[in-house]
């Protein structure tokens, strides 16, 4: 019984036909880029409410942009965190180190050493500025582009490369896609690879901390694209209902793979403005200004720690490179966007600020770039001794069946025996436990 295909119903008088709006980004490959329509607030001009203020006091900031560094590289206004030069230099070094790490791992993937990689180029200030503002034992529920937090917290680079190469020293036993790190010791939750699921989890961790009368807070991370997921709504609802001590970071890097932010709702309002509907504090910050990011996250962390509740922070930034090693942005966006981006590059801006303060120089910067590149090279070489993906030096075979449950149930024991038998048939000389 075939149904008739959908067709237009009876027209009502002279009403115009309905039309569907499908967002279209302003620029496609080859287009000239002009960002003059993008409102860029004046650095130092945004008020800084008290950290324990009513949420509504922050809501004008959801439609503004908190900026500290101005065009002359000075730090201005009430959001200037007034960090000492040594802290600024440390922050700059972690940002440069993260960028160098990304460069090398990207090349590693192109050289066939692993299957996949994701850079955070252009977004380093978001994660690293936040990491400096949080306490080291505040729990982070990251998305996949917060490698800067791990690096800022001193996670060994060689461990990161081991994970990326899925080699026999990978602490995650070669089970996870590259960059899906986990480090309980560094209060860094296991990265899922599913999107937005970590947001309600961050709220749950924060609720647990409050239930236990702890003083640690949680921070959750996602991109503007995945803020369209139901998990985002779940997280904000629970955070609001229970006044959870959590900092909810939303990195608006303008793109979800090829889909521009319009597909997550950016044509209507800002992402920070989501906070208004939930009645929680919200901030919108220049994500390429490390000082502004630091100040916003510090504000939200102090607020959470004072039991004054959750904050949603939109980090307004630009994904300067591809989503991952698996896509070519040249076929869906204009290459001029990066150079025209009105908020500049976060590393360059912090560098120029330090130089303007008389606390840094081009020579020192170049020397630092060489130093971080060398640190990454050494770590990568060290990790390569433990193997690269698909070259035999992977994790011991039997680990495939471990950790599905705390104890191995009978059916997995049987399946493990099967897998080992298959291996012996294929490689008669193979023995479990021997170097593979």
């Amino acid at each position: 019984m075939a149904r008739k295909p959908a067709k237009a119903g009876n027209r009502r008088g002279n009403l115009p036909p309905l039309s569907l709006h499908v967002p279209e980004p302003p620029y496609r490959p080859g287009d000239k880029v002009d960002y003059s329509h993008l409102p860029v607030s004046k650095a130092g001009a945004q008020p800084r409410p008290d950290e324990t203020c009513e949420p509504a006091e922050t809501h004008p900031l959801c439609l503004d942009l908190i900026r500290v560094l101005d065009e002359d590289h000075r730090a201005l206004g009430p959001w200037d965190p007034k960090l000492d030069a040594e802290t600024l230099r440390r922050m700059l070094r972690v940002m440069a180190l993260t960028r160098a790490f990304d460069e090398r791992m990207f090349r590693g993937q192109r050289q066939g050493k692993t299957s996949f990689y994701m850079k955070c180029t252009g977004e380093e200030a978001c994660s690293i500025g936040a990491a400096f503002a949080l306490a080291d034992d505040d729990m982070v529920f990251p998305s996949y582009r917060q490698q800067g937090i791990l690096i800022a917290r001193g996670y060994p680079l060689v461990e990161m490369v081991n994970q990326i190469y899925s080699n026999r020293a990978d602490r995650l036993k070669g089970r996870q896609l590259p960059v899906m790190y986990s480090s309980r010791e560094h209060s860094f939750f296991t990265i899922s690879g599913n999107l937005a699921t970590q947001y309600p989890q961050a709220v749950g961790w924060a609720m647990a901390s409050a239930i236990k009368g702890d003083t640690r807070i949680a921070s959750g991370w996602l991109g503007e694209g995945s803020s369209a997921e139901g998990d985002f709504h779940a997280a904000l609802t629970f955070a609001a209902v229970y006044n959870a001590p959590v900092v909810l970071n939303l990195v608006n890097n303008q793109y979800a793979i090829s889909s521009y932010s319009g597909f997550a709702g950016s044509e209507r309002t800002t992402f920070a403005a989501r906070a208004i509907g939930y009645g929680i504090a919200g901030l919108r910050v220049d994500g390429n200004d490390a000082l502004a990011v630091y100040a916003a996250v510090q504000w939200a962390a102090n607020r959470a720690r004072a039991n004054a509740g959750p904050t949603l922070i939109e980090h307004f930034t630009y994904r300067a490179e591809a989503h991952s090693t698996s896509d070519d942005p040249g076929i869906y966006r204009s290459a001029h966007e990066r150079e025209e981006w009105p908020l500049g590059d976060p590393v360059t801006r912090l560098k120029r600020h330090l130089i303007a303060l008389g606390e840094w120089s081009l020579e020192r910067h170049e020397a630092m770039d060489r130093e971080v590149a060398e640190a990454v090279r050494v770590a990568a070489k060290e990790a390569e001794k433990n193997g690269i993906l698909g070259q035999g030096l992977h994790h011991p075979f039997h680990t495939m069946f471990e950790d599905v449950y705390e104890e191995l149930p009978w059916h997995l024991e049987e399946q493990a025996e099967q897998a080992i038998r298959e291996r012996r048939i294929k490689w008669p000389e193979w023995e479990e436990g021997r170097k593979e």
Partner: protein
């Protein structure tokens, strides 16, 4: 009924007659008392005590920090439970009806079930998700489903279903103590009394049933162990939840010397108990209330076929609900009741 192995000999503890709801409430009470990391939350579970009263009195006793209401958002309920587990709590969320679990499914399948694996043991999700399931209460298609098979299909989850007050208490305590995520499905048709499938007859209370004798205090029934409800020689019945009681009644009425196995845990299943029984009887009947296609019965039939083929004297029989949504007015036509089970038993007895 066989004696449970466990930390406390059940013979030492005085017993009282409890309904399944009372037994579940007692298990939650005991675990809140024993373990300060246990927290209970869900829709209407706090002050009100749950729509089925499973958490009655617990908020008053343990406070709002330990037992509280949640927004109507199953994704959030499971999601925050995963985060709480990562912190070190032992969350026991309730989903008001198993039919409402689907918005939380991604958090269960992609997150809770895989945390231990993907983090190589750094993070675990020691949560126990309780949900009433099954039909027979005129709940229509959104308050009657039996979704167990979608959980048994997920590596990393354990699925547990009690059929008596005695087992509900011991299994729930074991589930909460377990360090893996456990889906604890409660057959709501038998919350307040056993049900033999003869819906026209007056409901019976638990107090007339021997398995309503529930020991006081703490005891755990190990997960992964089936219960031999009745020993017998003629055929083996594999069932769980409400259907255990229906099978018992039908086979008693027919005077068949059946061995009835209440699986209690679907994953990991007690394969030894299944093998031993089918090898003895040579005939096997699998029963569940859930829809048929890709139901857990398919898994049971395959297991028996793989492991007991040369003991079988007849094709394995499978009695299930139909592959339709659970109909409201025709729910007893859907339910795998005495007639459907009786036919399958007759076929088994006639064969071989």
């Amino acid at each position: 009924m066989s004696v449970e192995e466990g930390p406390v000999s059940l013979h030492d503890a005085p017993t009282r007659r409890l309904t399944m709801i009372e037994a579940i409430n007692e298990a939650l009470d005991i675990m809140l008392e024993r373990d300060p990391d246990v927290v209970i939350f869900g829709e209407d579970v706090g002050y009100f005590g749950g729509v089925f009263r499973a958490t009655a009195g617990l908020q008053a006793k343990y406070g709002k920090n330990r037992v509280f209401d949640t927004p109507i958002n199953e994704c959030g309920i499971v999601g925050v439970a995963v985060g709480m587990g990562a912190y070190g709590l032992r969350p026991v969320p309730e989903i008001q009806f198993a039919d409402y679990i689907y918005p939380g499914f991604d958090q269960l399948v992609s997150e809770a079930a895989r945390l231990r694996y993907r983090s190589a043991g750094e993070f675990i999700a020691p949560l126990t998700l309780r949900a009433p399931f099954g039909g027979g209460i005129f709940g229509g298609q959104t308050h009657s489903q039996s979704p167990e098979a979608i959980f048994t299909h997920v590596a990393g989850l354990k699925t547990v279903i009690p059929s008596t007050p005695h087992d509900a208490k011991g299994l729930l305590i074991a589930a909460i103590e377990d360090n893996d995520p456990v889906i604890f499905l409660e057959p709501k048709r038998i919350y307040n009394g056993p049900f033999d499938g003869y819906y026209e007859k007056p409901a019976r209370p638990w107090s007339a049933h021997p398995a309503s004798e529930v020991p006081e205090g703490y005891y755990a029934i190990p997960l992964g162990k089936a219960r031999i409800v009745r020993e017998g020689e003629a055929l083996t019945v594999l069932a769980y939840g409400t259907m255990v009681h229906v099978a018992e009644a039908v086979l008693a009425e027919k005077g068949v010397d059946a061995e009835i196995i209440d699986l209690r845990t679907l994953v990991p299943i007690d394969v030894e108990a299944v093998e031993k029984s089918v090898q003895k009887t040579g005939k096997c009947l699998v029963i569940h209330e859930a829809t048929r296609t890709s139901g857990f019965g398919g898994e049971l039939v395959a297991l028996v076929q793989e492991r007991c083929f040369y003991s079988l004297e007849a094709p394995i029989e499978r009695v299930t609900g139909f592959d339709t949504p659970y109909p409201h007015s025709l729910e007893w036509a859907y339910f795998p009741g005495p007639v459907r089970i009786g036919e399958a038993v007759d076929r088994l007895l006639a064969a071989g």
